[in-house]
């Protein structure tokens, strides 16, 4: 994979740099990173660490949106996966069984979504709404209505531990990013997913099995959501069926859109979506560290997002071309 400097200069990378510089102006210590207790600390690391769950969701969401779909269930799937992991370790299972079990729960949710969309041809926004609504109920059934806390050090390590100086969450997100990007670009999957997203009918005529590709992307999105769910649960040492991953599906969709993948499907870029997730997190962190009241967070975030989306809009790009 050739990386040229030109390809790195995109509206997204410029936006990220702008947000980071803005943060630095508001909070001069923003870029300082220090080494303490065998790991890195600092606001930048915090952006990566806090941004990891949404980045992971965005990786799966990108593939779904590329097929002209959307997955609203990922927040609820996070809650389910967290609940499964927490109750399993509390029930005496080792982390080596609990985490795979949580991931299987995510895969199953994704399969459900995929069957509704691909086989029954239900509109994705409605199909995934089912688990978005029912998923938290399922999670509560699993936790029997409690917030299940755990003390299993191995599970906690996934959320708070570090390796080679970097938080585990960051390493997991980075590994997923690299593996997925290689998988879609080194195989034909990326092209075929784009083809289905651009024109599902033409894809069928060209002999592409849209059905199996759609199943694949929803299952993958469920898998990503389960990873994010385990990370969030491990981070707070417990599974909160009501609040884990709440509204994060919207952040994930936003990250994908900021990353330049159209909701109409087709061309997609997973690294750009991850960049989108980091932009969102950099804004969150920036507002927190700069001492603004957190109420401002949502409003400022909305303002910046509007600015980015306007820059990407067809109207704006036409204006730029004319200029």
């Amino acid at each position: 994979m050739k990386l040229r400097v030109q390809r790195l200069i995109t509206p997204q990378s410029i936006a990220l740099v702008a947000v980071l510089v803005f943060n630095w102006v508001l909070f001069p210590g923003f870029f300082s990173v220090e080494w303490k207790d065998g790991r890195l600390f600092g606001s930048l690391i915090d952006v990566l660490n806090r941004g990891a769950p949404v980045a992971i969701l965005a990786i799966g969401m990108t593939a779904v949106i590329a097929t002209k779909g959307v997955d609203l269930s990922v927040g609820a799937v996070m809650a389910i996966a967290g609940a499964v992991a927490a109750t399993s370790v509390e029930g005496g299972l080792s982390v080596w069984a609990a985490v795979p079990l949580a991931l299987v729960a995510g895969l199953a949710c994704g399969l459900w979504n995929g069957v509704l969309v691909a086989v029954l041809d239900i509109q994705p926004i409605i199909a995934t709404l089912v688990i978005m609504v029912a998923g938290r109920g399922i999670a509560q059934l699993i936790t029997q209505g409690f917030i299940v806390t755990f003390t299993d050090p191995a599970l906690i390590y996934i959320g708070t531990g570090s390796f080679a100086g970097l938080p585990m969450t960051v390493l997991i997100a980075a590994a997923l990013l690299i593996v997925t990007t290689l998988l879609v670009r080194r195989t034909a999957l990326g092209l075929l997913i784009e083809a289905v997203g651009v024109n599902r009918s033409a894809a069928r005529f060209a002999g592409i099995s849209a059905l199996s590709l759609l199943l694949l992307v929803y299952v993958f999105s469920g898998f990503c959501a389960a990873i994010a769910g385990v990370i969030v649960a491990a981070d707070i040492h417990g599974a909160d069926a009501n609040n884990a991953g709440l509204w994060l599906e919207l952040d994930a969709i936003l990250a994908v859109v900021i990353g330049g993948t159209s909701l109409l499907g087709g061309r997609f870029s997973i690294p750009m979506s991850v960049l989108g997730a980091l932009i969102i997190q950099a804004m969150n962190t920036g507002i927190l560290v700069s001492g603004f009241p957190p109420e401002f967070n949502l409003i400022v975030k909305a303002g910046i997002i509007i600015a980015i989306l306007i820059l990407q809009s067809p109207v704006a790009s036409r204006l730029f071309k004319r200029a």
Binding site: A188, L191, L192, A206, G207, S209
Partner: protein, 500 residues
């Protein structure tokens, strides 16, 4: 008499394609003016300019002596120019009256005055000789009635010029008569009616004058009374029919080994069971009108729809439940509606060419970028696809080049049987000849081709056999010397029981 609407020196360019150039047209009150031309001649571009959907790049539109520049169709409508399209663009689940008054409902103190609306609707439709329950849903009536309602609405809102864009394409004979009756009434009321159609009979039945376009240019505007049918066809094609059939092709083709056999293949409500065997190195032409079952037949053969009777074999028995299986067996299909079923507009020319091969290879045997470039380059050159580069989105290419891209996509899988549904539709005349040449050279390479086309002279030129479809059934198979436009037309038009 002054013309009510004039186009003077109209021109329109799309990308590198000059869709319309220096076209003049005058429309007089109380005339029916037929607009003729092959697909891609510029008819719809001209109409879109006159009705405000496009803005001309050159020339002016003059309404009742004053120059106008419509920003959109609504403005043109308000100024007196109404349009009715082939697909009725009204709201099927609203009532007839609501459709007539949509956006202009009679009201009283801010409330809808339903009685006034229903009475008004009844009155308006009565002037068209239409007495129906105006409270019923529009969608519950036949297309012909819906067309008349659409015309009534357009005339009510506009009232000077009415454009009918292929209004008869999906109507039967009696319905066409009814529509013509309405058109005559409007003519008597002093409207200028522009009538676009592919059916020459109808032109001679209703039109006063005819304007013919070819390749975006005006050929001629003449009174219909001085013209013969041949004159019109010659004006449209710009040539006498040049293609001739070589009867020897039939014998040569039947000597080839049988490649695919479709025995009693049919689907209820789609196509009656038909038998067809295709040999290596032969082109079977399929003739028939729109709605005759010709496209449905191709869809069964390619597995787009599943047949519910009959058997298919290509060397070995074949069950087709999806195009994927047909592709695996060595078939390719260039669909009639390129935009909807064919091209991936946002993807590059290169990706559009390799996509079927890649789908056939599977998810994990990815073609490398070099292999893709090589395949795209090879077939682009063989088919003379004109694109600035192969990384540009395919939607930027002209219709003819897009068609060749889809053809290239199938040639890349090295197919045994190619099905082409209207391969020359909507592409310019020069590209027609190239597609016909390509069909001939593929036949010489030993492929079997099934080509559906409304262009009879082309069908005659390249087919070794011609099957004729009518009323969703295969009604005739023509061979050798039988293959001529006259015989095909007779077979298409023959009444029940009189089929050869």
């Amino acid at each position: 008499m002054e013309p009510v609407l004039q186009g003077r020196g109209l021109g329109k360019v799309f990308g590198a394609h000059q869709a319309l150039q220096g076209v003049e047209i005058d429309l007089f009150p109380g005339e029916v003016h037929a607009l003729l031309g092959e697909n891609g001649a510029g008819k719809s571009t001209l109409i879109k300019i006159l009705t405000g959907a496009y803005q001309p790049d050159a020339g002016t539109v003059v309404l009742e002596g004053a120059e106008v520049a419509f920003r959109d169709p609504l403005q043109a409508q308000a100024a007196g120019i109404g349009t009715v399209y082939q697909e009725v663009n009204l709201v099927p689940n609203l009532s007839v009256a609501e459709n007539l008054y949509l956006g202009h409902q009679p009201g009283r103190w801010g409330f809808l005055n339903k009685r006034a609306m229903h009475d008004g609707a009844r009155e308006v439709l009565a002037t068209y000789g239409l007495e129906i329950d105006v409270r019923a849903e529009l969608g519950s009536f036949s297309v012909a009635v819906q067309q008349i309602v659409a015309i009534a609405r357009a005339v009510k809102l506009s009232g000077k010029v009415l454009v009918l864009d292929e209004p008869t394409a999906s109507l039967d004979r009696a319905e066409v008569e009814r529509l013509f009756d309405v058109v005559r009434r409007l003519k008597d009321r002093g409207l200028a009616v522009v009538f676009i159609t592919h059916f020459l009979d109808q032109v001679f039945a209703i039109a006063d004058r005819v304007t013919v376009l070819r390749n975006g240019k005006l050929v001629s505007t003449q009174a219909i009374s001085g013209l013969s049918r041949t004159d019109v066809v010659r004006m449209m094609l710009g040539k006498d029919v040049v293609f001739a059939h070589a009867p020897a092709m039939t014998e040569a083709a039947e000597a080839g080994p049988a490649l695919a056999t479709f025995a009693g293949v049919g689907k209820k409500g789609s196509v009656q069971p038909f038998d067809l065997t295709l040999h290596q190195g032969e082109v079977v032409g399929v003739a028939g009108l729109l709605g005759s079952g010709r496209t449905e037949m191709a869809r069964l053969m390619f597995g787009v729809d599943s047949a519910d009777t009959g058997s298919i074999s290509m060397g070995q028995p074949l069950t087709l439940r999806s195009p994927r299986q047909a592709v695996a067996a060595g078939m390719g299909f260039c669909p009639e509606d390129r935009k909807v079923d064919g091209i991936f507009g946002e993807l590059s020319v290169r990706e559009n060419i390799v996509i079927a091969l890649q789908a056939k290879l599977g998810w994990f045997k990815a073609l490398s970028r070099d292999e893709q470039d090589d395949i795209a380059g090879r077939f682009a050159e063989a088919l003379d696809i004109r694109a600035a580069n192969h990384d540009m989105p395919v939607r930027l290419l002209s219709g003819g080049n897009q068609q060749k891209v889809i053809l290239a996509r199938w040639l890349a899988i090295d197919p045994k049987l190619l099905i082409l549904d209207e391969p020359t539709r909507g592409i310019d005349v020069g590209a027609h000849a190239e597609i016909v040449r390509t069909i001939n050279s593929l036949r010489e390479d030993g492929l079997a081709l099934l080509v559906i086309s409304s262009e009879l002279d082309e069908v005659v030129a390249y087919s070794s056999r011609v099957v004729v479809m009518r009323d969703r059934a295969m009604v005739a198979e023509l061979k050798g010397a039988e293959i001529s436009p006259q015989v095909i037309v007779q077979a298409i038009a023959a009444q029940e029981g009189a089929a050869p």
